[in-house]
Symmetry: D2
Subunit: 476 residues, 4 copies
Amino acid sequence: MNFEQVNIPEKLVPDNYLQLGLAAQRSKQRSFKELLEKLPKNGWSDERIEELVHMLASLDSNNYPHKVGLGEREARIACKLVARRHYNFGHGIGRSGDLLEAQPKAAGSTLLARLTNALILDLIRGIGLPSCAGCFLVPMCTGMTLTLCLQSLRKRRPGARYVLWSRIDQKSCFKAITATGLVPVVIPCLIKGESLNTNVDLFREKIKSLGVDSILCLYTTTSCFAPRNSDDIAEVSKLSKQWQIPHLVNNAYGLQAKEIVNQLECANRVGRIDYFVQSSDKNLLVPVGSAIVASFNESVLHDVASTYAGRASGSQSLDVLMTLLSLGRNGFRLLFDQRGENFNYLRENLRKFAEPRGEIVIDSRFNSISLAITLATLAGDQMKSITKLGSMLHMRGVSGARVIVPGQNKTIDGHEFLDFGSHRSNLQVPYLTVAAGIGITREEIDKFFDIFNKCWNQIFQTKNEKIMSLLETTIK
Amino acid sequence: MNFEQVNIPEKLVPDNYLQLGLAAQRSKQRSFKELLEKLPKNGWSDERIEELVHMLASLDSNNYPHKVGLGEREARIACKLVARRHYNFGHGIGRSGDLLEAQPKAAGSTLLARLTNALILDLIRGIGLPSCAGCFLVPMCTGMTLTLCLQSLRKRRPGARYVLWSRIDQKSCFKAITATGLVPVVIPCLIKGESLNTNVDLFREKIKSLGVDSILCLYTTTSCFAPRNSDDIAEVSKLSKQWQIPHLVNNAYGLQAKEIVNQLECANRVGRIDYFVQSSDKNLLVPVGSAIVASFNESVLHDVASTYAGRASGSQSLDVLMTLLSLGRNGFRLLFDQRGENFNYLRENLRKFAEPRGEIVIDSRFNSISLAITLATLAGDQMKSITKLGSMLHMRGVSGARVIVPGQNKTIDGHEFLDFGSHRSNLQVPYLTVAAGIGITREEIDKFFDIFNKCWNQIFQTKNEKIMSLLETTIK
Amino acid sequence: MNFEQVNIPEKLVPDNYLQLGLAAQRSKQRSFKELLEKLPKNGWSDERIEELVHMLASLDSNNYPHKVGLGEREARIACKLVARRHYNFGHGIGRSGDLLEAQPKAAGSTLLARLTNALILDLIRGIGLPSCAGCFLVPMCTGMTLTLCLQSLRKRRPGARYVLWSRIDQKSCFKAITATGLVPVVIPCLIKGESLNTNVDLFREKIKSLGVDSILCLYTTTSCFAPRNSDDIAEVSKLSKQWQIPHLVNNAYGLQAKEIVNQLECANRVGRIDYFVQSSDKNLLVPVGSAIVASFNESVLHDVASTYAGRASGSQSLDVLMTLLSLGRNGFRLLFDQRGENFNYLRENLRKFAEPRGEIVIDSRFNSISLAITLATLAGDQMKSITKLGSMLHMRGVSGARVIVPGQNKTIDGHEFLDFGSHRSNLQVPYLTVAAGIGITREEIDKFFDIFNKCWNQIFQTKNEKIMSLLETTIK
Amino acid sequence: MNFEQVNIPEKLVPDNYLQLGLAAQRSKQRSFKELLEKLPKNGWSDERIEELVHMLASLDSNNYPHKVGLGEREARIACKLVARRHYNFGHGIGRSGDLLEAQPKAAGSTLLARLTNALILDLIRGIGLPSCAGCFLVPMCTGMTLTLCLQSLRKRRPGARYVLWSRIDQKSCFKAITATGLVPVVIPCLIKGESLNTNVDLFREKIKSLGVDSILCLYTTTSCFAPRNSDDIAEVSKLSKQWQIPHLVNNAYGLQAKEIVNQLECANRVGRIDYFVQSSDKNLLVPVGSAIVASFNESVLHDVASTYAGRASGSQSLDVLMTLLSLGRNGFRLLFDQRGENFNYLRENLRKFAEPRGEIVIDSRFNSISLAITLATLAGDQMKSITKLGSMLHMRGVSGARVIVPGQNKTIDGHEFLDFGSHRSNLQVPYLTVAAGIGITREEIDKFFDIFNKCWNQIFQTKNEKIMSLLETTIK
């Protein structure tokens, strides 16, 4: 509805009062126009966001007042609560197996999806990736989206069957390959001190030994648990360019770190990246459920979109749109910068914690999100104390901190990984990893050290008492 | 919160008044206990549904009052509106590449997902598939879920590369095969009158000619646009059993039709079906975005769940849970039965429409959802009138009715389909399809005929006028 | 926002798809224009209602994007949830002690309040009061609104101090007089059979004995608990006209009954009614909290509005507006008619219940909402059974049924009422009243008789057992 | 629902995960228990607030699953949206003309209303009124609530008819008296400099001349527009105590200012205050619609509550409860303190603005909320410039700033006020008032001066141009 085009009688409201209200409306109209060009500088109010979203939904055919549905899929929603939580969107996005096509039954959903993709692109460019040529949201997890990228690459290179993969011990990252039926070729990391780096030479050797044509792509990871470092994507990109083999980057939570963003931009300049894929929830603080495929080359994006076999959920686009509008460019920038500061704060405090206890914070300087602290003294000669520490932290509300102990082997889809979780096959010293993800607060970090300290002391004391009682028994 | 365990002072509320209120609460507690066993007979009120959903969400770690998040994925939600519409669920479902595993950070989401799957199973069994052994919701479209099934079958039969597919002209159904890199073998339908049936003999021949071990699976479809019939899945199931080749059924919107449901139950008795896959939105009236994999053999379901590479959106489970609670067993049954009646009503009226106009409703007796009416007289010798009819209906709010004209060829991922849309390669007579999907109302059907009639007359008149003016011109 | 005035680029959405959506929007625009003239025939969807309400709120100054508040009252809302539930309305309605004046800071609230009043008027006229000249909603209970009417009448007749009041035992109805400091003159009802009628003659006598100038107004009641009948407002209206004394009608829940509505219309033709006041919650199914003052003479309404000393809550107008839009004229009519049918159903069943038990349904033919059934046989010689019946019904979920026993005297603000609750001073036979209010369902009535029957039997049995055991004791 | 008392099967969720969730729940249970004693220190999350509110509503009989309504008022709500925005509360608060009585049909609403009153009392005591003995919320505006207090005082002193009222030019404040039919005796303020103070001597004289028994009460105001000062309530309280005449204080927006709060506490120690009444919206940042009656003597509060003739809206209690829970004690304290700081900031800036322009900020040192700046130089010899300034500010989004010019007489209910708006009868110099109300931000103040400056300059320039052209004309 639009009050401007209606003649509202004076007896219902004095015209001079009404005009003030209508003038205020017009400023909203301007902000909508600007939105069609770029992400607003300042966040929108909830009311304005919902107004836009309702307007969009009213453009979908299931919301036409006089619609007559004679098909098999008419976006009827049985439960009012469900309709309400989806703002009456029901038709999803894309069309018969192409995520980027417009949906004839749903002009609003189409606009929603495309606008969201445009705003994400604006955001990505703004935080340090000006060369990014395009991107789109896929309403599947990062792993499945990586699978989708691999599947679309296979259509281009039907004869290739190997995926050269720099080892990272994150299950779905590896399963993204096995799901496709392609053959993963694991490139173990180089160990330098206790940190882990990309073995670029081994990549090169494998390219030579397997043959360029048999290799579907090189597959690297930026964001990962310390002490593994971000892969050296610049060097791998050079190989990719040199041998004309596609390069796929798993950038799961890399949009939140300046260092990774810079690395991607740089790698594109010196080499080649076909797709980089990131999780929406990890970077944009929405619920789990979608990923973003981005590229420095717009033309290859459509290959991925048209590999999605069906019409997809629009719910994730809605989450991202609302979040971006709510934050605005400045709001996201603030979170982005705070994360960097909090990472430094976490590292400093971790070092202060480690030193007096005879532990070290492993020097993984190419990891700007996650940190690892050794647990050598706590462990002593057995690992039980370490797993107990993990569970104690968890019980006290600390989520996300993980303890890694040697000897945890695991087989995934027929491939065995020694010391799974450590990204290497010969782990000696147990450690704990923590991360400063986007949205973390300084209070959380302080509370963590408070809890960590208490748990540490408790375990240490118990251990000492056991040793003492053992000594006493021995003496007797 | 729970008022029963709190001593509320008399001065805040007289105890006898309070006790009446608390007694009413206890009945809700009983209904929750029953829910853990089966779908309620009668739908729940919105308030009760939301109470349950909020309770579930409060079990997830991101909603703990004193949580400390030190990981890379902590379900922080930046936008209040987004959090609200997800009832503060953020963690998604499953764990590192297994949709059915419990998520340690999210007891509530785990319970949500599993409860939803249990209720869907109860529903499926109740409407005529008592042999169904298990099922689960996949937050991807039907096509991608079919891809997931194919991928999991490939893990079992790594040497096989062919998928024998009874042609159906629905793009994403075919793309589900090409996405996997497997090779589709198209089995054209048998034409009987103008309706299309499964060519079971050709399936048999292909099995023999290609060799059992090279065939990944037989792939059939139940719900489709008339005049194609539902595939003869009983006969294909027998082949599947006889040759021990998996059988995958695309049952996109088949849960809403008694005939299809009975066919599936019967096919399982006489033969073999590994998975049957259906769309949630088409059958359960939720927004587009998820599918249900079901099986008569519980053990094979986990293969599919563990092929999903990552943690998935829980939003679709929430939609289905809320909808099932809102409808109850009786509410769904009512919709199910009404659809059947409305299909008959639509068919009768279509016949009444066709007869005086010299058209026929094609006898596709094994299709109990969709109907096709020929447009021979309207078309005359040119197809322009037909596409105009389609567009006129669309403009007047009729969605889902589709006109099919000869000569529309299409290439999908390198495979060419003649007369795409008609499920056959030699279409002669144009036709219109309409469907009676679940949720359709008698009023919609009446309105459709009103509009259809007007459009028909308008086109007919224009055509006659053209002919007349042509005749006049000729005479002069 | 308004998509029509914005140039949305083709790459965001194809223009032909967009145009279909925009066309659908325009039909909403038309329905808004119609609303400015009268209550819509059919109810609006929730989405459309909320769109209108949001639009209205955006016209209030507290929702202007760039507002600067330098006053003492700026409609700042601290709690997001509160703002949300009020759709961001904060400024209330009216201006410095006049409920009907426009509020300069709040064009939207002004429009909301006036539109609501206009729609209520349209409704009132439509259900049988075409002579109604105006009405407005007062965000106070019916009793306080009656007080407000009395206060405004006193401004007109400063010398008058008596209010002639036909007795009805509803506390707030009487307190409405005492609150003003005026002197109530109680006119007891005439008892005819067991039903109670207005003593018109006594009204006349009191006018003569007290003197016209000392009487502020005549004060009657239409809707009341049986066996009191609706007051004979036609006859009292004639007195009012004849002596030129104002006449105030308490029509608390009388808008829901055809008979009362007709009576009001008729009374206005033959006599005089200054104001008739009704509760919004009882007639329009909104939460408790407001009343409607109506008159056959528009000019006197403003006297009441300008007696309200301050700016008032707009929340109740919002409730009524949303409810009227949601029901539409037809929706209200349906409820109105169903209530009439359900009253007849209740009366029939009450008679069937009474007869075999030796009780009667008291013939209060001028009460078309409430019914009374005697409890003579159940009571025997003591009243304990009767109060027990009341409490048993209450415990089993029956609300609104009331038992009346003789001997309940009560003093209100210094005035003593014998047999309070029975509207008379010499009650002999206890009874139970039940009512068929708007919104009641046939299922509720059936359930009531089921419960009533069980309670009755239980009490009867206990009583008989007591008598038997008494007899036995006596015999022994 | 309560998960603790239900045996949730392990296959739905692993027990150790579930236990973590349940432990988190228990902490919410504790916070609810604490709430029954006092306002929480820190604000609650939206989720927790809504959980409590839903729990309360479920205790009301209209929300019982098996209720049977046979009365005339059963809290049926026709429109889902209305039910939703009221969290399904429908029964209102109080019972038949007593706002503080428990409502038998609504244990939850009763608890809601009483809990709200208890929390408000806790808040009032905490901000500097430890002697406050009780208070309750009245769902009417401040003016009508003052009327209610006067009406209840009249019941105590039926022979008294005069209300001694220190003039304040706020319409509804005066109408609160005339609504009751009592006779206002206006006590003009003393003018000291340009500021206005209570004329205590005149109060004393009037008491003597009219006679104690004929005076219902003394009626003062604390919060008002500068340059009127807060009344000297301590001195008036002494008179009240000395002569045993009730004292009613209009404290409309006085809960937000430390100085006023202290004054009230002090006045009670040295004298007598029967009731002090404040607006909820102005002090607690909820929508317009309710007021709070407070007293230093709990026993007299019930007189007011039982003067309200009917059952009242519970919606305003809900707003206040949610707001107080959302803010917590600390949240309100912060707003309270910030207001004080912003008042100082506003005064400083106003002085800086005034000085170079030859104007002054009038020294009304006993007004700690509102400020007045003279507009002598701007006005020159005509007032048109001044009203233009007012309208220019308003047009630019500045609400709440008011210009006062001499010569605006007004008659209210038969009483004439000269120079209405200025609180005095011989205003010479026009001025502008602005206020620093609770919730105001420093940004708003800065923006105001920016706009004020522009408007000032514009008017000044126009005036000078006119004078110049006049001069030129004259010279010629």
